[in-house]
């Protein structure tokens, strides 16, 4: 049981070369930091390779690295990091994949073709961080109302909001989501 992460690091390095930025390890939990360019290929490899078999996507989330100190261990080469939490049922092991996305253009390829679970997770990231997922089948807001403006979990979003709770259009009809 368990994945040989040392061997995996070698394989990933051979296959994806300069796409790989770093590996992180903390108490036996591994993280793979990559550029966002070929993210779907990386994820497909991790899903299909018999040595890893990360067949389950438990979560898609995002980190806004705005004004994070430069001295952070792994660094934040771009503003956003889209984080995929993968789980391998066969090997009972987990991996965290971070793909760094610049502020402009704020785009990354969608993983919804690999895991159906990515669909809603990516919608949430789009809703709260404003990251566009190219090729997503149905990229709409999922938590905020359809007529909401802005992406509230971005670090530069004002803490007290922008008055949307006072100026929220009074109900007339439920807007089509």
């Amino acid at each position: 049981m368990g994945i040989d992460f040392k061997a995996l690091q070698e394989t990933v390095k051979q296959r994806f070369g300069e796409q790989v930025l770093a590996w992180s390890e903390f108490r036996g939990q591994y993280g793979l930091h990559v550029k966002s360019g070929r993210i779907v290929e990386v994820l497909r490899f991790l899903r299909d390779d018999p040595a890893t078999k990360f067949v389950m996507l438990t979560d898609v989330t995002c980190v806004d690295g705005l004004k994070l100190p430069e001295t952070m261990e792994q660094g934040f080469p771009e503003r956003f990091a889209v984080v995929y939490h993968l789980y391998s049922l066969e090997h009972n092991d987990r991996l965290r994949v971070k793909a760094f996305v610049p502020e402009d253009p704020c785009e990354i390829d969608s993983a919804a073709g690999l895991w159906a679970a990515a669909n809603w997770g990516e919608r949430e990231v789009f809703d709260l961080f404003g990251i566009n997922f190219r090729g997503h089948p149905d990229l709409r807001r999922i938590l905020m109302p359809a007529n909401y403006e802005g992406h509230p979990l971005r670090k530069d979003y004002p803490l007290k909001g922008r008055g949307e709770r006072d100026n929220f259009p009074k109900y007339t009809e439920i807007p089509e989501a």
Partner: protein
């Protein structure tokens, strides 16, 4: 009820008694909508379950707004939820009442100041009859709120015309009788007896 409602001028013995009778019926069969959005909902379940037992007041949860008389807004209402709450409210048949339960539904609660998504009080969207403060209010406080609502219902006029200046629907704020009795919180109201 429609053709007879608020038609009669006189304050005679028939109309007053019929009104009282109808009001008695309404206030003792407040069927409430099974609807809760956040942690206050846990307290609402407690209130409906065997320990506090809302059934003994004739209050039975209904899962559809079309059979409900009372909406207890229990919990945080987000901007996205607000229009849904309004839609549920509009589906309830008249006469209908609303109890706003907990700080969130009253005024935004802990999310009043720093939040981008929480409505600052459900009374911005639907009319509220009774406010029950607390975070969350204890089931006793909700019972008190229901009793206050019964008083409101008892005063309503059904057959008789509304007064010259109909009483505005003034909201009532319930006080929590045990708010300063910490022991009551854990013992369901039992008093500490010194040995």
């Amino acid at each position: 009820m429609g053709i007879l409602q608020n038609r009669f001028d006189e304050e005679n013995v028939i109309f007053t008694n019929v009104d009282t009778l109808l009001n008695l019926g309404k206030e003792h069969s407040l069927w409430y909508l099974l609807f809760a959005t956040a942690c206050c909902g846990i307290e609402l379940m407690q209130w409906g379950a065997s320990k506090y037992d809302s059934d003994r007041f004739g209050m039975i949860p209904r899962s559809t707004p079309r059979q409900a008389d009372l909406m207890i807004v229990a919990g945080t209402i987000t901007l996205k939820m607000a229009s849904r709450v309004k839609r549920l409210y509009e589906q309830m048949p008249e006469p209908k009442w609303v109890i706003s339960m907990g700080s969130c539904a009253n005024a935004g609660g802990p999310f009043c100041k720093y939040s981008y998504s929480v409505l600052k009080g459900i009374d911005k969207y639907i009319p509220v009859d009774v406010y029950v403060p607390g975070c969350p209010p204890r089931p006793e406080a909700l019972i008190e709120g229901v009793f206050k609502l019964r008083e409101v219902i008892h005063e309503e006029r059904v057959l008789r015309k509304q007064g010259k200046t109909p009483k505005p629907r003034t909201p009532i704020v319930v006080e929590d009788p045990h708010a300063h009795d910490p022991f009551a919180r854990h013992s369901g109201g039992a008093k500490l007896v010194k040995a």
